[in-house]
C-alpha cells in the first residue's frame, strides 16, 4: 500500500516578481497590481490577513446577542455583542464541514446553528451542541472545535478585527493618523452613530482604486464631479473656486493611512452638504452644528471640511457626505461596497435628516457623485484587460518632494490637498507587506510613528 501525501503550503509562494511594481523614488506604479490573480491571492494572505480590518460600528450591535454578518476580505465573519458588553468576531464557517453558521445579514441571536448537520454554537462562537453526539461523535472535545476567533479592538465607535496575533494594538496601528480620524469620530460629545441601513453594491474594479482615491485623491473632484456640482449650484451656494481653496493632505508616518481636506472659508462648512441635499432641512441650524464641532475639536481641525480618508487597507470615509464604507475585495477585478451613514450622536434629528438626504443623493448606490467615481474605476479596470495596458506604468508623482512637517498648524507629513503623498504612503505600506514573506513588518514594534 502506498500513502500519498499532498501538501499545500498555507502561505502562497510568490511566483510573481514584485520588485518593479512600485517605485516611490521614480514615482511609478505598474498596473499589474490591479489585475493579476496571483498578486490578488498574495494580498489576501499578506495584506488582509495581517492588517486590522473594519468590521462594524458599535451602534450596529448595541445589545447582547446582536450580530452583524460581514467579511474580512473574502472570509465571512460574524460580529456579536456579548453579555459582558464586549464584541467577538469569528469565522462564519462550521468546523464540521464548513457551512456558514449564520446565513442572515444581522439581527439578535441566542445561538448560531449550522443548517447542514446542525452543529450549534453559542453567541461567543463556542461549539455547544452536536446532534446525535453519543452515537456520532463519542468523546468529542467540543471546547476544541469552536468557530475561529479573530482579535477584536475598537477605536471611538469603530470595531476592527485581525487574524494577526502579533499585530500591534489598534491604537498603535492607527498611530498619528488618529489626530485626523478624530475630526470624524470625535467631533462632538458622545462621538458618532451609524444611521440608515448598510447599502451594498458591486463595482467591477480593483479594491485599491477605491481605497487610494479616498486616501489621497482630491484632485479628481473638479473634473470627475463637475456635473453634480453644476447641477446643485444656487445663488445662495455658488460654486467654490478650487484654486482659491486652502487644503491639505496628510500621510500617516506608518501604516498606509491617509487623508485630505479643505479649510472652510467662513460660513461655508455646511453649504456643500445643504446644496447637495437639495435644500436646508426645516429646523436644522448649520451654524450651531459648525460651532458645536469647532468647540469640541478645539483647534484648527474645526475648520476642516470635505475630508476624505482611508484606513489601510480597505476602510474609507468621505466626511463631506458623512459616508463610511468598506471595499470588500472580490478577486482582482471586483469589489463589494458596504456603505453606511455616520453622524454625531449629539446631532439634532433635523441635522441627522440633513445628513441622510445628502448622503443618499451623493454617496450611495444611486448617488450622483458615486456614479462618477464608479464609472472611472470600472473603465480603468476594463482598459487593464489589454496586455500592453498592463505593462504600461502609471505616474504617481504629484507633489513629490513638496511635503513638509508641521505645515500650517496641521501636524505630520503634510502636502497640498492636490497631491499623491498619501497614495504613495498607501502603496509603500502595500509594497512593504507584499514583499515580506515572514510578515515581520506587520508585527508589534514595526509601527514606528512620528512623535504625537
Amino acid at each position: 500500500m502506498m500513502t500519498v501525501i499532498i501538501r499545500r503550503n498555507e502561505k502562497r509562494s510568490p511566483n510573481v516578481d514584485l520588485s518593479d511594481v512600485f517605485d516611490e523614488q521614480a514615482g511609478t506604479i505598474s498596473p499589474v497590481i490591479y489585475s493579476d490573480p496571483d498578486i490578488y491571492q498574495m494580498e489576501l494572505e499578506r495584506i488582509f490577513s495581517r492588517s486590522w480590518l473594519f468590521i462594524a460600528h458599535e451602534t450596529h450591535i448595541p445589545k447582547a446577542g446582536d450580530y452583524f454578518s460581514t467579511y474580512m476580505a473574502e472570509d465571512p465573519v460574524i460580529a456579536v455583542r456579548q453579555k459582558d458588553g464586549g464584541v467577538r468576531v469569528f469565522l462564519n464557517q462550521c468546523r464540521h464541514r464548513g457551512m456558514k453558521i449564520c446565513r442572515t445579514d444581522s439581527g439578535n441571536a441566542k445561538a448560531f446553528t449550522c443548517t447542514y448537520h446542525g452543529w450549534a454554537y453559542d453567541i461567543g462562537g463556542n461549539l455547544v451542541q452536536v446532534p446525535l453526539e453519543e452515537q456520532s461523535f463519542p468523546g468529542l472535545d467540543k471546547s476544541k472545535w469552536g468557530a475561529r476567533q479573530a482579535r477584536v479592538e475598537s477605536y471611538k465607535g469603530l470595531i476592527f478585527a485581525t487574524w494577526n496575533e502579533e499585530a500591534p494594538a489598534l491604537a498603535e496601528y492607527l498611530g498619528d493618523f488618529r489626530y485626523y480620524l478624530d475630526t470624524v469620530l470625535d467631533a462632538s460629545e458622545g462621538g458618532t452613530e451609524a444611521i440608515g441601513g448598510i447599502v451594498k453594491w458591486i463595482i467591477p474594479c480593483n479594491w485599491k482604486f477605491a481605497a487610494e482615491q479616498f486616501c489621497s485623491d482630491m484632485y479628481h473632484g473638479t473634473m470627475s464631479h463637475t456635473s453634480p456640482i453644476t447641477a446643485a449650484i444656487t445663488e445662495e451656494f455658488p460654486a467654490l473656486d478650487p484654486t482659491a481653496l486652502s487644503g491639505f493632505q496628510f500621510r500617516a508616518s506608518n501604516g498606509g493611512h491617509g487623508t485630505g481636506f479643505f479649510e472652510a472659508p467662513a460660513g461655508t462648512s455646511w453649504g456643500f452638504r445643504i446644496v447637495q441635499a437639495a435644500g436646508l432641512v426645516e429646523g436644522f441650524d448649520p451654524e450651531a452644528a459648525h460651532s458645536r464641532q469647532a468647540a469640541h475639536l478645539g483647534d484648527k481641525r474645526g475648520t476642516i471640511f470635505s475630508q476624505h480618508l482611508s484606513i489601510f487597507p480597505n476602510f474609507s470615509v468621505f466626511n463631506g457626505a458623512s459616508t463610511a464604507r468598506v471595499w470588500h475585495p472580490r478577486g482582482p477585478n471586483e469589489i463589494e461596497v458596504w456603505a453606511f451613514g455616520l453622524v454625531d450622536k449629539a446631532a439634532s434629528d433635523a441635522e441627522k435628516e440633513q445628513v441622510r438626504l445628502m448622503t443618499l443623493r451623493t454617496f450611495s448606490a444611486a448617488g450622483t457623485w458615486e456614479q462618477d467615481d464608479g464609472e472611472n474605476w470600472v473603465e480603468v479596470q476594463r482598459v487593464l484587460r489589454g496586455h500592453e495596458a498592463r505593462q504600461t506604468k502609471f505616474n504617481i508623482q504629484m507633489g513629490a518632494g513638496a511635503t513638509r512637517n508641521e505645515g500650517a498648524d496641521f501636524p505630520g507629513t503634510i502636502s497640498n490637498a492636490y497631491a499623491e503623498e498619501a497614495a504613495r504612503g498607501l502603496y509603500a505600506q502595500w509594497f512593504k507587506l507584499m514583499s515580506d514573506e515572514e510578515g515581520t513588518s506587520s508585527k508589534r514594534g514595526a509601527y514606528v510613528h512620528a512623535a504625537e
Binding site: A111, T113, G118, P131
Partner: protein
C-alpha cells in the same frame, strides 16, 4: 404534592419565560396570554434550554434546532424532537405563581 412559589405573575409578562432550578432539574415557566405552564426546560432533542426559545401561542421553539413543543402537554410537535418533555402542575395564589416540582409527568 408540594407547591413552591416561583415568581410573581408580573415578573413573567405574556409571551415570556422563566428558567428555574429544582430538585427535578431545570424547569421552564411560560406565560401564554396570562395562563402559566411549566415544563422540563431541557429540550429532549438537543440538550438546550427551552426557556431561551421563542414562544408563539402555546408552542415553544428551541433556538438550537427549531424543535417545537406544546407547553400545555409537553409533546414534541415538530422534528427533530420526537420525545416529549415532562409537564408540572402550576397553581396561582393571588399574584404568586407556584409549581409542584414533585408532580412532573408525561402527558397521556
Amino acid at each position: 404534592m408540594t407547591f413552591v412559589r416561583v415568581c410573581s405573575e408580573n415578573e413573567v409578562p405574556p409571551g415570556e419565560a422563566l428558567r428555574t432550578e429544582s430538585a427535578a432539574g431545570p424547569v421552564a415557566l411560560f406565560n401564554v396570554d396570562g395562563e402559566f405552564f411549566a415544563i422540563e426546560d431541557t429540550c429532549s432533542h438537543g440538550q438546550w434550554s427551552l426557556a431561551d426559545g421563542y414562544l408563539t401561542g402555546d408552542k415553544i421553539e428551541c433556538t438550537l434546532h427549531m424543535a417545537k413543543f406544546c407547553v400545555r402537554t409537553g409533546k414534541a410537535c415538530t422534528l427533530p424532537a420526537t420525545k416529549p418533555v415532562k409537564i408540572f402542575p402550576v397553581e396561582r395564589r393571588g399574584e404568586d405563581v407556584l409549581v409542584d416540582f414533585d408532580g412532573g409527568r408525561y402527558a397521556a
